[in-house]
Amino acid sequence: MKDTYEQLKVFVERIVRPVAASEKDKLKMREELYSHALDAFEHEGLGGSDPAVALRRTLARLGKPGETRAALQASVGWESRIEHANNRVFRRSAGVPLVRHAAKVGLLTGGALLLVEALIALPPHLAEVLRWNGEGQIHIRMCLMLGLLFGTGMFFGIMYSDVAWRIFERRFGRPGDRLRLLGLWALASGTYAALGWGFTLAVSHDPIASKTLGIYWFFGSGLALLFAPLLIEMDLRERRPLAEWHALDLGDSTGERAVAE
């Protein structure tokens, strides 16, 4: 039997978890609704009522979870919805293996880059591509290579960030350790960018094109990866207070039944 406070939390989580909003907004909803539920429970128990009765009344006061959820969803702004959609792609859900998640993100981002290239970079060279001459083949090869590199980069980036996240969370709690990890990260970022450049030079037969592409790759991926620790730190700050909410088991529908009654 869950204690009263946990039952209130489960009730709140059942309302908020399915809402399509950013985690920041959802945390705000959780904290406010839970805080309200506690105040209401305290108020209901003032006359010395049985805690079970006070709990049932509290849940009834909050209303049907479905209605509250719909009202909350309607209040969510478009930025928050976009962030939620972004999180659905880039954040691993519970129970999904890391490799599968990284492969999904790699395929999606690599595919998206290929699409962008097909729409923006290829049209000016369409004639050469259609004639399938040497220049056309180089353009196609460059586009495919960039998509492949980006997708592969994302795959390893996700794997890498997950491992780093665990290390950050469990082992590197002190500021000095964090600085050391930042240094390691910068080194890894440089290595990754240099490897990408080398790979580009190795597979492209056009020295001028490969040089340009290599420079873009070097600076683009290098900069992105240098910012990665900052992004992970921000992500950690957002995730920490969420952990206890995400750990709640919503299987028991006590709250829904209590309100229905």
Binding site: L38, L62, G63, E67, T68
Partner: protein, 133 residues
């Protein structure tokens, strides 16, 4: 808050009647002083003399809409001495909210004048008797 003119129990006013007026009522409550969600509700209940039947969970979406549109500003409570549980958010009306409240009051007064006049019957012109037109 003023008590009702008489002590007769009032009929409950539930969500369907309140829809569309909730945001103006919240602004009116916050015009008095800043408050967190539970306090807003308590003041509404007190002012409604027990007749308001609000599904409390729907208060927050209304507050978020007001915040999103800049009519209220919110901050997390700094000090919650003697209270367990998570922080509360304190809502405060903004200038834009005050203007919205004035507009809401005008619209409400007009609504009551027009619709009230019809519903109560005082605004209705007696129909001429048949055959006299």
């Amino acid at each position: 808050m003023h008590p009702p003119a008489n002590n007769q129990p009032r009929a409950a006013i539930d969500g369907d009647y309140l829809r569309g007026h909730l945001e103006t009522m919240i602004l009116a409550v916050l015009e008095q002083d800043e408050a967190h969600g539970f306090e807003v509700l308590r003041r509404l209940e007190q002012a409604g003399c027990g007749a308001l039947r609000l599904k409390e969970g729907t208060l927050y979406p209304a507050l978020y809409r007001l915040e999103e549109s800049g009519k209220v500003r919110a901050r997390w409570e700094d000090n919650q001495t003697g209270r367990r549980g998570p922080r509360r958010r304190i809502y405060k009306i903004t200038r834009k909210g005050t203007r919205q409240l004035s507009a809401g009051r005008e619209a409400w007064t007009q609504f009551v004048d027009v619709v009230g006049g019809i519903v109560i019957g005082r605004a209705l012109v007696p129909t001429p008797a048949e055959g006299t037109a």
